[in-house]
């Protein structure tokens, strides 16, 4: 174990999955937090800090609620704040909570993200809008022109990769099909019991071409919470501790968001470098990859950007079955945002914790020692893309 690894571990996990038509975001957050605290074998009174992981500034902006889950749950927290950027939630939350834990300002911090996108979309559908409900954003260029949803601009990345490297829709479909195979091993997944073929992917309706419906992530309700503490404390608790081995961060804007190459890559370079250096690990040590998958091309880009294949070869790599069950790099093993549910990077983060704990049931990857979880998102910068990329490596406590 490298000495530069952070003194942090995940001690408890709580998941609320599936449509929650009659439940508010704050109740979902409170319930997930209650589950995570119980999972760790802790009491409410042990929690002295709380972090609200909230998607902000991205395609799925949502208003805040005035009555926080901490009050609802009666958490005796000494601090409570909101953090998040697009779907990059867990990665940023861990980095922020670490400061409180390592300075002795807190012993156990609970971090929670809750969404009610599915419930809200059922409401807006009645008024003729399709897809997720959005809050208005200052400086959003394309809305009046027809750039209305994440698929409106994210699909350019797929289109550009296709134009430059000859990537095909069938190859993107291979990502969708393999993640669905994982989802069919996960009873919690929205698409459990509904396997698909490449033909199904090709026959699914165009939404924003080159994206078929099956290239696009779920619209979900739900909440995920986890308890973060120091490694030593985590070892005395109810569940096997999952250590945070390393983290890294990258911004497209640091490389100029108007750089044309940002339409065929994500801001992985620095994030990967930092996380591998902090953890003392290499790419070959990663047993499962939970890659942020708002759309299929984001998975393709990350497989290339992290180095599982060369830039431009992602299409052939996924077509060969490398990311599904039995593949060389098991990817989005719970079904991901595409086939499980969309709670930002918390979907993959929770799955990474379960894989490292050995709690992943039928989909458990044998001897999973190290899991990668990534986050992605940000404000929509005219005319381009979500900016942030976060890398978090988790591993079995020694």
């Amino acid at each position: 174990m490298g000495s530069t690894q952070p003194d942090l571990a995940v001690a408890g996990l709580g998941v609320v999955a599936g449509p929650q038509a009659d439940r508010s975001q704050r109740m979902m957050a409170a319930e997930a937090a209650r589950l995570a605290i119980a999972d760790a074998g802790l009491n409410i009174s042990d929690i002295d800090g709380a972090v609200d992981l909230r998607r902000t500034g991205g395609g799925g902006d949502r208003g805040s609620y005035s009555d926080a889950f901490t009050r609802v749950l009666g958490l005796p927290a000494n601090f409570y704040f909101v953090i998040g950027r697009g779907g990059a939630l867990a990665g940023l939350g861990i980095a922020a909570a670490a400061s409180f834990l390592q300075r002795g300002l807190a012993k156990h911090v609970v971090l929670v993200g809750a969404v009610d996108d599915w419930s809200k979309s059922q409401e807006t559908k009645k008024h003729g809008h399709r897809g997720m409900a959005h809050a208005e954003k200052e400086g959003y260029w394309g809305k009046a022109l027809g750039d209305l949803r994440a698929a409106s601009h994210h699909s350019w990345m797929a289109a550009r990769h296709m134009a430059v490297y000859g990537t095909t829709s069938e190859q993107l479909g291979a990502i969708s099909v393999q993640q669905r195979a994982w989802a069919c091993l996960n009873p919690e997944a929205k698409m459990y019991g509904r396997p698909i073929t490449i033909e199904d992917h090709q026959n699914s309706p165009w939404v924003v071409e080159p994206y078929h419906l099956f290239d696009i992530s779920q619209v979900s309700d739900g909440a995920i919470a986890f308890v973060l503490t120091t490694r030593e404390r985590a070892r005395d608790l109810a569940k096997p501790a999952v250590d945070i081995l390393g983290q890294g961060f990258g911004e497209v804007a640091a490389d100029l968001w108007w750089e044309k190459k940002n339409f065929q890559q994500m801001a992985v370079h620095n994030a990967k470098k930092q996380a591998l250096a902090e953890s003392g690990l290499g790419l070959q040590d990663i047993d499962v990859a939970e890659l942020y998958d708002c759309f299929t091309a984001e998975v393709l880009f990350q497989l290339e950007d992290y180095g599982w294949c060369e830039k431009g070869d992602g299409g052939a790599f996924v077509e060969a079955g490398n990311i599904g069950p039995g593949g060389s790099i098991p990817t989005n093993t719970g079904g991901g945002l595409l086939s499980c549910y969309h709670l930002g990077d918390l979907t993959g983060f929770a799955e990474a914790v379960r894989q490292v704990r050995g709690e992943a049931g039928e989909r458990q990857v044998a001897n999973c020692e190290v899991a990668l979880s990534t986050g992605h998102g940000g404000e929509l910068v005219s005319p381009g893309m979500c900016s942030i990329h976060t890398t978090t490596l988790l591993g079995k406590a020694a």
Binding site: E138, G139, K143, G146, A159, V208, E209, F263
Partner: protein, 149 residues
């Protein structure tokens, strides 16, 4: 007036309103004059869209070393997509519409929908130019069209 004469006025705007703010007001005023403006550095000539401090050197306070200047309005198709779903009811009669990312000859990328011949596979890299659609509400919506088709 006969019905054929009234077709020139576009229908009342039933889409999300343009997001015209303190940083983009002058740019939208340019579109209304049928000029595509780029945010241009007087020190080194670098051009940006949207508004930004020049990244090539130190700036004057408030980026006063830059201002909006007319561009060629020409560029190349960088990527495009086809919206088959109208996410907003105002686009219901327009789907499928073609939404393009254009690399302007001056360098910056900008996006707008295509008019005229729709793009097809193999059109990435082809020359396009801006087209203007004036609205009685007081704003002008930009589009792009292929040059020389």
């Amino acid at each position: 007036m006969t019905t054929t004469e009234t077709t020139e006025a576009p229908p009342a705007w039933n889409k999300p309103p343009p997001n015209i703010d303190k940083d983009s007001r002058e740019f939208w005023d340019g579109l209304a004059r049928h000029e595509l403006l780029l945010w241009t550095c007087h020190t080194c000539g670098a051009q940006y869209w949207p508004k930004a401090y020049c990244i090539k050197h130190e700036n004057e306070p408030w980026a006063a070393n830059l201002s909006w200047q007319p561009s060629s309005g020409r560029g190349k198709l960088f990527a495009y997509n086809v919206h088959h779903w109208a996410f907003h009811p105002g686009f219901k009669d327009e789907v499928p519409y073609y939404y393009a990312l254009v690399e302007l000859d001056e360098g910056p990328l900008i996006s707008a929908t295509m008019v005229g011949r729709p793009p097809a596979a193999g059109d990435v890299g082809k020359a396009v130019r801006i087209a203007y659609e004036d609205h009685p509400e007081g704003f002008t919506i930009p589009h792009f069209e292929f040059v020389g088709d």
